[in-house]
Symmetry: none
DNA sequence: GATGAATGAGAGTTCATTCAT
DNA sequence: CATGAATGAACTCTCATTCAT
């Protein structure tokens, strides 16, 4: 609370004028977080046509999100859980959960559309794919952030370069073989 | 420190006889953690022949590791970072970093061997692949753990089932197309 | 202050336009309190003729007062003290003290009139009797309130029944033996 | 807690080494309190033979108790309630309640013995008398304490003198008329 | 070699009070 | 005339750390 107050430019006591307690503040931040992520991904998907381009903009959306709101990013991964669906939670938590569902809805549409176009594998099971996709994507971004220096030293890649490679790998896990994207930048000939 | 002391069967004060402070204890635990992970993966790789089987045992190794030492697992992801390489860190942290390097060495050998056998894509760039592989693998496990309930309710899969699907996806991101493993369990019969 | 402001229908800040601080508000409430008690007892005494009936209406007056203004009742017992007589107190506190004096005046008249009628013991020393009477009476009411449940369970009497017995006891402490009231309800028939 | 810590000569943090929380401290103090009161009254009753003398020693016991442990005295009146009998309370609270019951037991024996000797009224109902007796007795002591100065100025009696008069009055409320104690000090001729 | 006893610093929270508007 | 906005000081409680024995 000291930190939040300092960041907000107010005294700790002032926070309690506007919020019930720390839990409420955190849940409101989480909700903000989810909404921003939603917007980020929605606009990313809207601006692109091809499956690969849309895929890349989803990745970039999450990257930008993590860069702009690292605290929110961590929160989405750590704090948001099932209990949000049930009754014993703040209204903000319920809403957070709902927005999360909408995000999954968007990814679902993206996957189906990509499968219909023949860009993504037809045997993908939608729901398991969505969640594992999130897990892997956030895993890449998280690691690229935490070990940025280490990777630069050891691998010789900047954070964006490293992630780009990871996103390419991840795409291979959902792309259809017959569409030639699997080969990536190194095997163009 | 209370918990650690209780678990160690000593009094809190005694801990400070043997360790400088909490940070040192944590760094030692982290080292233990890394060593256990090393053993886990080493034996996993040794017991298998085929690339796919070895891949799966790596995944299983990390899963068991997370199940048995959730605290260590979290620590490897969160706390272990570049600074370990530099001078301003405890000797245990340096050692932890070294063990991490050895683990990467093992994964490197696994990847190269798989590529040579034609099971894994020949265009994989070793180092970027290693680290992104870790990022994605831990991302799957982490998510499967944090959102177990949610996934059960929404996706209808148990945690192991869900992770199995994820591991399959992840394998697709490194496997060579011509080896028929990409289609996974659905096409085995 | 929040509660007072809400109850008053004004904002907290507005309270400070009209009152110096919380202490002043409390002292004004205490004065109100004293006045209400005065009225309560005055009308109680006026409506009855016989000593016993007047006695009972005094008791009932204090009981109703406690029931209607528990906060005031507590205040009279706790907060109102000697300092009110001296200089270092708010004007309201002085006034509160004065009203208290008037109440004692009324009790004094009641006692004297009762003694003259032969209902009360002639050897009562007025002032010590007044104050001890207040002490005992409020002691009964206070205990009946605080331990209502306990008394119900242990003694098997409701709060009013219990207090009635107490008031009867208290009357015995001032009544003249030769007037037959001492035996109370048990000997009326 | 600041005050308790200061009084104990320790820091606030130290209190939490020995006690769970404030509630526990308070409940332990309350229990101590009750035990001391028990001892006080028990020895008072044991050292006297005649009913009047025993009565006076009970009063004196409670007075000394209030003088020595004003905080405990207040606590017994305010904080100890029925919930202590039930399950949702600390063990100390249960014990406190039990000691209270034992005290009442002693008063009961005193009353019965007094009635048998013919010193106390035979129509006293034991339980209602016990509790009202406590209410009135503590009411006298409480008032004598809170308004000591005021009584000195207005009534012209010291606190002990004032209470003595009150105890005399209270005795009249339980004494049998035929025993000549009712007349008190002023009517000796 | 081990610990009982103690604590400073800081956490989340509450509340009477202030002041510019 | 009234208040929205803000806070210092106090509260209960926690935890890593110290030190005499």
């Amino acid at each position: 609370m000291d930190d939040i107050a300092k960041a907000a430019g107010y005294s700790k006591a002032t926070l309690y004028v506007y919020f019930e307690n720390k839990e409420e503040i955190v849940s409101i931040l989480a909700l903000e977080s989810m909404k921003k992520l939603y917007d980020s991904i929605e606009s990313a998907l809207a601006q692109q046509e091809s499956t690969k381009a849309r895929y890349e903009s989803i990745c970039r959306g999450l990257v930008h999100y993590q860069e702009e709101f690292p605290f929110y990013f961590k929160m989405v991964l750590d704090k948001i859980n099932v209990d949000f669906e049930k009754g014993d939670c703040l209204p903000e938590e319920k809403e957070t959960w709902r927005v999360g569902e909408e995000i999954n809805e968007m990814i679902r549409d993206f996957l189906i559309s990509g499968m219909e176009k023949g860009d993504l594998r037809r045997d993908l099971e939608i729901l398991p794919t969505i969640f594992n996709f999130w897990g892997m994507l956030s895993g890449i971004i998280r690691l690229a952030d935490k070990k940025e220096e280490y990777i630069k030293n050891t691998v010789g890649l900047s954070r964006p370069q490293f992630m780009e490679y990871g996103f390419h790998m991840l795409y291979c896990s959902i792309a259809d073989d017959r569409s030639n994207q699997k080969t990536g930048r190194n095997v163009d000939e």
